[in-house]
Symmetry: C2
Subunit: 258 residues, 2 copies
């Protein structure tokens, strides 16, 4: 009935370790026995013990550090992303700080590294979103967001060049147009953001994403696409993000439509 044989020593060892982790015999961060020891203990080949470890790795239960050992995965606090993260009250603050000098605590809550602003030809989805011809030039602002010293997500925003030219949005110094800062700038330009459309899709990461987000094997990502619109429904920013799934959850509220 079951198409996949779930038996065999490797699966048995994996199951026992999984149980041991689940009931706390191995705490988060604790090191598991070395593969060679597991092999001896269970009377299997090293290869088979390694396979068991690999199964747990794929499930995301453990993380292996090359040359060091296998460790029970530390769970990071989950950040809940609700509509509030776009609240107007938050831009003001950011905006005021943006006028001042770098106060040296930028990375405390949400540090941005690897910020980059480029002018690139629009891919199809960008062109459609912004209502410009395909391959016409658009402003692309990319950044990788860190928390607790680890990357949590990437975000790439697109703007029409004629709208953001000569604004701090073009400034690639970290923190300048970060957070809701761009919203304040757009407001100044007479393009006040009013509504947000968001699309979420979960999938396994590409190898590039595994690299950039330093994802443990077996961790999915959530692709977030958003459209920021003015009261007239005019899209002023189109953005795409890739989030490490284990670090986020999303919260939405809406009235039941007619």
């Amino acid at each position: 009935m079951s198409p996949e044989p779930q038996t065999g020593p490797a699966n048995r060892i994996a199951a026992e370790l999984r149980a041991a982790i689940a009931d706390g015999r191995y705490q988060p961060g604790a090191q598991l026995p070395p593969v060679r020891d597991l092999a001896k203990q269970y009377g299997v080949s090293r290869n088979t013990a390694a396979k068991a470890i690999n199964i747990l790795r794929t499930e995301g239960a453990i993380v292996t550090r090359y040359g060091s050992g296998a460790y029970v995965r530390e769970s990071h606090p989950i950040r809940t992303l609700g509509p509030d993260r776009y609240a107007r009250s938050k831009w003001q603050e950011t905006r005021v700080r943006a006028h001042g000098e770098d106060d040296g605590r930028e990375k405390e809550q949400q540090g941005t590294q690897a910020q980059e602003v480029e002018i690139v030809p629009a891919e199809e989805d960008v062109a459609v979103a912004l209502g410009v011809p395909i391959a016409s030039l658009v402003v692309e602002r990319s950044r990788t967001v860190f928390r607790d010293g680890l990357p949590t997500h990437t975000m790439v925003s697109y703007y029409r060049p004629e709208e953001v030219r000569d604004t701090p949005i073009m400034d690639d110094r970290p923190g300048m147009a970060g957070r809701g800062g761009s919203f304040a700038i757009l407001t100044d330009l007479g393009l006040a953001p009013q509504d947000v459309d968001e699309k979420l899709k979960a999938r396994m990461p590409t190898t590039d994403e595994v690299d950039v987000l330093r994802l443990p094997p077996g961790e999915p990502v959530v692709e977030l696409t958003r459209w920021i619109k003015t009261a007239e429904g005019y899209v002023v920013e189109y953005a795409k993000g890739v989030h490490a799934a284990s670090r986020f959850e999303w919260l939405y509220s809406f009235p039941i439509p007619d």
Copy 2:
């Protein structure tokens, strides 16, 4: 710099096959060369060729059928879930049909199998959501939803027993209270749904979920939690679902808060 050695024959073979799949040399549904052939072709051991296949399997690029072969994964159409799926206009229809007889085409668009209604003691999250004591009895309605003959998601709803007793919500025949049917019933009870809160979280499936949803290895799931509230903010239904990530995307729109 890179902590994980990504080199080696297995990875090289996986990369070549991945590329071949990506540019269409292997179409969806097509069978890949047998592991033994790959081994011979690349001059590696059978074990290594199998490992390459396993990498692609973990990534979800291919599906293996025991004793038959490895096949490029067929992609299912993605269903977009927006607020519209709760629209009032949709309950009416369902409600009218619910009064009629089973017309035999139930499974055409969205078939529900394995519907089950039970009265169970409330777990903590259920108790909190419905505002009842932990372990007090609540009505639990579980179902697995199919599409194209394959399970796409599970859904478990909770209600207060005194509110839904003697209503079709307690009827475990498939299709009776399915879709928005429960909303119409709640409306009749003077508990008209007005607002929806939804929470989304992506993660890897448990082994149970792999079984029930027949998930290919490497496919994540999305956990959806929702609260259905009346105009007064009273929670009339609390529900949790587990969705096969590859078959859905979610769409939300909201105004920027103050």
